[in-house]
């Protein structure tokens, strides 16, 4: 059997990172990383959205609040948006939210925005690697104490 790197080294802490990727550039960049077999840590989970501007800041706040260790929003490079201007809104929202989260004591590494184009498979892999390592170094977002009942959505 292949090596079980998940149990190697450290305290075995594996951060869980939510990634939003826009359909046209970043998701395609992630696909390219796959096609190119670029290896990277297995801590990120992608939610595909059509445009990074679909990611409402509430998602980021919710994800962190629910105990996820980090949120990474990926969009087309400014100027490349499939919808011509979506990522400019992402950029403004991202700037403000990052500052706000930091202001209430949430480490800036836990919420990041990056631009990854469809040809930047390697950048996608590097970004995943970097962000994972940064968050791993921080440790768990917060003890998952309190109510475990929170399953957003309906009940």
């Amino acid at each position: 059997m292949a090596s079980e790197s998940s149990d190697e080294g450290g305290n075995g802490y594996e951060p869980k990172i939510l990634v939003f990727a826009c359909n046209w550039c970043s998701y395609a960049g992630a696909d390219l990383a796959g096609v190119s077999r670029l290896q990277m840590p297995a801590n990120c989970r992608i939610i595909r959205v059509m445009c990074s501007a679909r990611v409402r800041p509430e998602f980021v706040v919710t994800a962190l609040s629910k105990g996820l260790d980090g949120v990474l929003v990926l969009g087309c490079h400014p100027g490349d948006c499939h919808y011509s201007e979506g990522n400019y809104f992402t950029r403004r929202r991202g700037l403000l939210l990052k500052n706000l989260l930091q202001f209430v004591g949430i480490e800036p590494e836990r919420f990041q925005v990056r631009w990854v184009s469809a040809s930047e498979g390697a950048k996608f892999a590097d970004t995943v690697e970097q962000v994972t390592e940064q968050i791993r170094a921080l440790g768990p977002n917060r003890p998952r104490s309190g109510n475990q009942s929170a399953e957003p959505g309906d009940r």
């Binding site: 800041p57 509430e58 100027g79 400019y88 403000l96 202001f103 209430v104 631009w115």
Partner: protein, 319 residues
């Protein structure tokens, strides 16, 4: 000034220029000021003005949406910006509101005043503005108290003591600063300067206390949504129990929603029953928005709110 106000309201009601007027009147105790809705000329003499007229009355203007005519409103410079925002956000047409601007030289924070006086507000009979100080009547005694001791936080750096867009004004007043040693964003910057862990501890301590009474939301001029996202059930964003993480989420999401719209009226902090310094959270956003996007809420009708706008060369740290 009260005379002038009352005369004006009588005149406007008489002309049929408005259906009713929203101002302030005295409540159960002399120091307790409440909003006052004047529909009849005969009631105009109840209207008062002074450093205890704390409420931002702008929120009530939304009621005029259901009227045929206009509604009149007394606004301080800070609150007047809410009217601008409400117009910009399509909640009311400007010509449905008769804006009566009142020059304001600072409002009293009742909590501070109680501390300085050492007596509860019920015993305060009158507070009068006298330049750099307030004349406070407690019993038969009139005490002079320096403004810097009892002013509401938001009043220390009042950039807009009068409305820029009014139909009538009760007088002119210049922007002022009390306590020249400090700067507008001192409180925010102090927090920003703390190590992350301490900042976190600070806010956790605050958010822990929140009982999620929604008072901050109810009082906010900007919270006019027909259905608040927090009240939705499909999906449900928040769990009911006021646990720390839910509370934190509540306040952060509110902040995000008000970013670029908050006009710093301070009502949320004033009504908070557990004294969460919400003003500081909103001031932080205001500061960032000014610095990053060169925007101040409530100042112009024809600018686009910062989060639904962009510049091609906005700061881009994301690369």
């Amino acid at each position: 000034m009260e005379d002038k106000l009352q005369e004006l309201v009588v005149e406007l009601l008489g002309d049929g220029a408005m259906e009713y007027f929203i101002g302030y009147r005295q409540g159960f105790e002399p120091s307790h000021v409440v909003p006052c809705f004047v529909t009849d000329q005969s009631e105009a003499d109840r209207l008062i003005w002074g450093p205890l007229c704390l409420q931002n009355l702008s929120k009530y203007v939304l009621q005029a949406r259901d009227l045929d005519g206009k509604v009149g409103l007394l606004v301080k410079g800070c609150d007047a910006r809410a009217i601008v925002e409400l117009v910009k956000q399509h909640q009311i047409e400007r010509d449905r509101v008769v804006v009566v601007g009142v020059p304001c030289e600072g409002q009293v924070d009742p909590r501070k005043l109680e501390q300085v006086l050492g007596v509860p507000m019920e015993q305060v009979i009158d507070v009068e503005d006298a330049g750099d100080e307030f004349l406070v009547t407690v019993g038969s005694e009139v005490r002079k108290i320096g403004k810097e001791q009892v002013l509401r936080d938001k009043c220390f750096f009042c950039k807009h003591p009068a409305s820029f867009d009014y139909d009538y004004t009760l007088g002119e007043v210049q922007p002022f600063t009390i306590d020249g040693d400090s700067e507008e964003y001192d409180a925010v910057e102090k927090l920003e300067g703390l190590p992350l862990e301490e900042r976190r501890a600070f806010w956790q301590k605050q958010f822990e206390r929140c009982i999620r009474c929604n008072a901050c939301r109810e009082v906010c001029y900007g919270c006019y949504c027909k259905e608040c996202i927090f009240d939705r059930t499909a999906p449900r964003w928040l769990d009911r129990p006021p646990l720390l993480r839910e509370n934190e989420m509540y306040h952060l999401i509110r902040a995000v929603h008000l970013a670029g719209r908050c006009i710093d009226c301070g009502e949320c902090e004033r009504v908070c029953p557990v004294n969460i310094p919400l003003g500081r959270l909103y001031k932080k956003l205001q500061k960032d928005i000014a610095e990053l996007f060169d925007y101040e809420a409530g100042m112009e009708y024809d600018t686009v709110p910062p989060l639904v706008d962009f510049e091609l060369d906005d700061q881009d740290p994301f690369l």
